[in-house]
Symmetry: C2
Amino acid sequence: MRPELDTYVVYDIEDDRVRYQIANACKDYGLERIQFSAFLGPLNANKRDELFLRLKKVMGEKPGKVLVIPICEKDQKARRSITVHLDADGKPEIHEE
Amino acid sequence: MRPELDTYVVYDIEDDRVRYQIANACKDYGLERIQFSAFLGPLNANKRDELFLRLKKVMGEKPGKVLVIPICEKDQKARRSITVHLDADGKPEIHEE
């Protein structure tokens, strides 16, 4: 069993249909949406290759870009984020990691 | 001198002005735009902290999310991408890495 690495899929696609299919492919491989056009989840090298081939097929000749970036545990720990979410009353909730 | 690591900044920001300021901050730190809402470039830990603080300040209480992800050389080499670009005649040029 090859080890799983947290893998980002980040994309820039104009065509709504292609973007939707890219998102679906990511979901099928168990990745979670972390931003509008970014998914993250654990994949081993085989699954990563499979997903990459599927993304390539989906893209076809439509303009855009897809990145698939596996991240080792150490890098994943060094990741930082800021999220600002408005609650039901429109009050900002700031979350930093 | 602390070592530089290739660092991704990926964001999801609704407000045009905030998005513009995030992009400007990334450019000031020498990062290059790789997608509409993603920058990449080498930063050492100090510069990464500085940039993170600036991004936090720019975000303020505006809704959205910013991720700062340093990537070790090994992970960077395992990165894969597909880019489809239309040339002047509208013919697709497919580039895979």
